[in-house]
């Protein structure tokens, strides 16, 4: 395995070096910036697309938060965005409410936190941190982005349909998603949703296979698996999860397309709707739930793993300390990845599935909490006796660990089937998954942008704006989701357009107002980020060779690397990535390219 990897690396080195240094073909604008095959450009394309989509999804969320905070009120801004069709007189339409919620969730989960997060950081970091000139297949990599782009475009366009976008929730459970008679969004909106997500799966598979092959085969000399930075381990495991689970979503979507368009009955049975008895019998909506969550649960780890990687790297660099328990971190990620495939049923305790099966899922779900706990403890210990530099990215990753803890703990309640049946489908679940997945991953992603901005654009972002951005975002995030637990515990179901039907819910309206205010302020604070981002891209202070004094290989390239990353030979690796503040050295970091001194121990190797 090792030797094999090395020959492959050398071949690649030779090839790339050849085309690169002797001929250096001039690339046209289109080849360089649009249909680029350079992993760094593709990474930026993913980032920009995801930022745009996230902005859309964030605006959608403020629109429906207006309705939930002040139900039935007229807001000119609703009318501005939605027009007479969906917000007559500035009051939101109940169908559009469901449409907004659905597209918000879909974009955030798939387009920002799957495509955007992995797409940006796997593309940027895998070649740079393993010491490769590019991805194993730059061509497939480019296709991966363009499939993502088209999928994003289709999802965005679906917002403008006459009958509205898909409205069955991001989990698109049939029969609701299969029958346009049941809800207008299940017409053309659902068709576009399915097409978009199918293309998204293609993008994700092309990207994922590429990431896996690159990490396994293109590591530079000396980069053993046990010397890989945790970012790369995380991105590798994420890609494996994606490759194994996304095809199942694809299958689920295909069967749904058949039920919708060709009269099959995979998910449909004994339905009477619109005054008419449908002919389909024998199908089961529960089958769809199994297929969906067989992807869906691994998916939440596809979202959180890259965040783990980014958190580990940034925390270690800014604490000037090795990540605590490197081996345990890898071990727990592998354990989570394995268990992620056998817990999906915890989303289905109320589906009508066999209760004994439910018990099995309770057991496996609480097993997965153990490696998750280990990670949290290891992060806290990494901070202990560190020498902490409060760069903005450090604040973001500390925040991400905090949300991971807060959200993970409520997962214990949901994992307990007997308790889940009391809160399933309420705002308690919404609070849980936003905190544990949404916030942790978004905060880590922001951290990653601040940290690697100098590598992407050769300039620094402004730290003061970074601080403001962090604290406003973080406070608003908890301001939104902490009170939401209480609304859920009071029994309020999610996906309700308003809570008028039960008088006891009125007592919670002040919480809904608080949530909406925090949500709107939180979204507005992102303006600080956007201003900082675009200003710094062009006018920020110039970066240095190794701005954060990191050990990893990406900082051994030129400040703004050209195609091929290293102008000369590829770097050779001699040690793990976490030799920070090693005793007996005068500097507090030792890059991976520095040879071992006589008698020095490689900490990555310990048993």
């Amino acid at each position: 395995m090792e030797t094999h990897a090395h020959t492959a690396t050398h071949d690649m080195d030779h090839q790339a070096g050849h085309t690169h240094h002797h001929e250096h073909p001039k690339l046209s604008f289109i080849e360089k910036y649009v249909f680029s095959m350079d992993h760094k450009t593709i990474s930026k394309q993913f980032l920009f697309t995801a930022m745009f989509m996230a902005l859309v999804a964030a605006i959608l969320s403020t629109l429906f938060r207006l309705q939930l905070g002040w139900p039935g009120h007229s807001f000119p801004v609703l009318h501005y965005f939605l027009g007479d069709r969906w917000a007559k007189g500035g009051v939101l339409d109940p169908n559009m409410y469901l449409g907004l919620v659905t597209i918000h969730g879909t974009i955030m989960v798939f387009f920002l936190l799957t495509g955007g997060l992995s797409g940006t950081f796997a593309n940027l970091l895998i070649p740079l941190q393993v010491g490769a000139r590019d991805m194993a297949s730059p061509m497939l990599n480019m296709l991966s982005y363009w499939f993502f782009f088209i999928a994003s475009l289709i999802m965005f366009i679906s917002l403008y349909l006459e009958t509205g976008p898909a409205s069955a929730g991001w989990t698109i459970y049939p029969p609701l998603s299969a029958l346009p008679q049941a809800i207008p969004g299940s017409g053309a909106g659902m068709t576009l949703w399915l097409v978009s997500i199918s293309l998204f799966v293609v993008s994700s598979l092309l990207g994922g296979l590429n990431y896996i092959v690159t990490v396994l085969n293109l590591r530079t000399k000396g980069m053993k698996m046990t010397r890989l930075p945790l970012t790369i381990w995380a991105l590798l495991i994420t890609a494996v999860l994606g490759v194994l689970s996304f095809p199942v979503l694809f299958g689920a979507a295909i069967l749904l397309i058949f039920d919708r368009s060709f009269g099959t009955s995979f998910y449909l049975s004994d339905i009477y709707i619109g005054g008419q008895a449908l002919s389909q019998t024998g199908g089961s909506p529960i089958l769809f739930e199994h297929l969906f969550w067989f992807l869906g649960h691994p998916e939440v780890y596809i979202v959180i793993m890259p965040a783990f990687g980014i958190i580990s790297e940034i925390m270690s660099v800014n604490a000037r300390k090795p990540i605590f328990g490197y081996r345990a971190m890898i071990g727990s990620m592998l354990a989570i990845a394995f268990l992620a495939f056998i817990v999906w049923g915890h989303h289905m305790f109320v589906s009508g599935m066999n209760p004994f099966l439910g018990s099995v899922f309770v057991f496996t779900t609480l097993l997965i909490a153990i490696p998750s706990a280990i990670k949290a403890f290891n992060y806290i210990t990494t901070l202990w006796k560190g020498n902490i530099h409060f760069n903005p990215q450090m604040l973001f990753v500390i925040g991400a660990v905090s949300t991971f803890i807060s959200g993970g703990l409520t997962g214990i309640i949901l994992a307990d089937s007997a308790l889940d049946v009391a809160v399933h489908g309420t705002y308690f679940v919404v609070a849980h998954f936003h905190i544990v997945m949404g916030l942790s991953a978004v905060l880590a992603m922001f951290g990653g942008v601040y940290h690697w901005f100098p590598k992407m654009f050769g300039r620094f972002m402004n730290k003061k704006l970074g601080y403001w951005h962090f604290w406003l975002t973080f406070v608003c995030a908890y301001g939104v989701f902490l009170p939401m637990h209480f609304i859920g515990l009071a029994g309020v179901p999610r996906r309700y357009f308003n809570n008028d039907l039960y008088p006891a819910f009125d007592k919670l309206q002040h919480l809904n107002v608080i949530i909406s205010v925090f949500a709107i302020v939180g979204v507005l604070s992102q303006v600080i980020f956007f201003v900082n981002f675009f200003y710094s891209m062009f006018k920020g202070p110039k970066s240095e060779q190794n701005p954060w004094n990191s050990n990893t290989l990406e900082w051994t390239t030129p400040i703004v690397p050209e195609h091929g990353n290293w102008p000369g030979e590829l770097p050779v690796v001699h040690r793990w990535a976490y030799d920070y503040s090693k005793p007996g050295k005068d500097v507090d970091f030792i890059p991976q390219t520095v040879p071992m001194e006589e008698g020095e121990m490689d900490e990555g190797e310990h048993v």
């Binding site: 029969p175 008895a277 803890i405 009391a422 489908g425 357009f497």
Partner: protein, 339 residues
């Protein structure tokens, strides 16, 4: 015109902001400060904000806990619900201890170990013993949680009392209908192709099945007698719906083509709960908890827990849909017997 003006103002504001950042950056550079990298002053101030944040965070959580008093669900009103509340409390105690301890350390350490002049980090890559401890201790805690939880789960989902009263909950866009099994306590057959809203045959009851003749369809209010095991059989007509009884701490989905079941024993009548809650307007409710279309948020049914006597009285006022068949059959039976 006004729109154009607004856009212009926006553009100017952006330019202004960019210029301000530029001025800030230049002046910082003149003073020899780096605009991108934290210095000791930043470390001090951000470290302080960490502590302020964590205190404010805990304070707001405590405020929320106080604020929630009287606004959450009342005490559980079913046999399984009472245990459920206990298991909840047990979990909450563990969760709160872990939450406060870890969250405090997470924000305290950065403050305590911020970089200052000449400060150094402690090289501490691993400690197998420590890691073993925090693998084993959570495992034990989780094992206890699982055992406690699953014992309740098996009671909830185990076989119902054989004498449990059978009630069908039938969901469609956007309301619930109840069907009581009548004297024989057996629901007659039904078929979605027999649905006839005009004839009030909402769930497609099959009149050729004698079991259906005494079945009673009720809309609007779901009555159940207190301290009696109830077995709910749930069905859906069009899309999935959810049967959610927040006060009884139980729920299940209604799935077209499939019958799902839950069972529990209601333990507090509506009247008693009104007294406990000091709220004469209090009512139990059944909510739809699976998104089912534009009217989802309006889909519910009032639930009334009666004393056994009240329930009998209420039941006596209801009529089976196929009462004519029932009567006919009865008359025949009587005449044959007389002959």
């Amino acid at each position: 015109m006004i729109k154009l003006l607004a856009y212009l103002v926006l553009i100017f504001a952006l330019i202004l902001v960019f210029q301000l950042i530029r001025i800030y950056q230049l002046s910082a550079e003149l003073k020899g400060n780096h605009v991108g990298k934290a210095n000791d002053k930043d470390n001090r101030s951000q470290g302080r904000v960490m502590i302020i944040f964590v205190l404010a965070f805990f304070a707001s959580l405590i405020w929320l806990l106080f604020d929630a008093k009287g606004k959450m669900l009342p005490p559980a009103a079913s046999d399984v619900g009472v245990t459920s509340d206990n298991v909840f409390m047990f979990n909450w105690v563990i969760i709160f201890i872990v939450f406060f301890a870890t969250t405090f350390l997470l924000f305290y350490f950065p403050f305590r170990y911020k970089k200052q002049k000449d400060s150094k980090a402690f090289f501490y890559p691993h400690n197998d013993k420590l890691e073993l401890i925090w693998t084993v201790v959570p495992s034990i805690a989780l094992a206890v949680i699982v055992i406690y939880g699953l014992s309740l789960w098996s009671k909830m989902t185990g076989p119902p009392d054989p004498k449990a009263m059978v009630v069908q909950v039938y969901a469609k866009q956007f309301d619930f209908t109840a069907r009581y099994a009548g004297a024989d306590n057996v629901l007659g057959k039904s078929d979605y192709k027999l649905i006839d809203d005009g004839a009030n045959n909402i769930m497609g009851m099959d009149s050729t099945d004698p079991n259906s003749w005494d079945d009673i369809i009720v809309r609007g209010e779901l009555h159940i007698p207190v301290n009696t095991p109830i077995l709910f059989k749930c069905n859906a007509r069009d899309v999935m719906h959810g049967v959610f009884f927040p006060h009884f701490r139980d729920q299940i989905n209604c799935v077209p083509g499939i019958t799902t079941e839950i069972h529990f024993i209601p333990t507090i009548t509506t009247d008693s709960m009104r007294m406990i809650q000091h709220d004469t307007a209090f009512d139990y409710i059944l909510l739809c908890n699976r998104v089912c279309g534009s009217g989802h948020y309006n889909m519910s049914m009032k639930v009334v827990v009666d004393s056994p006597d009240e329930f009998k009285k209420w039941m006596a006022k209801q009529h089976p849909l196929f009462s004519h068949l029932y009567d006919m059959h009865h008359k025949q039976a009587v005449t044959t017997a007389m002959k």
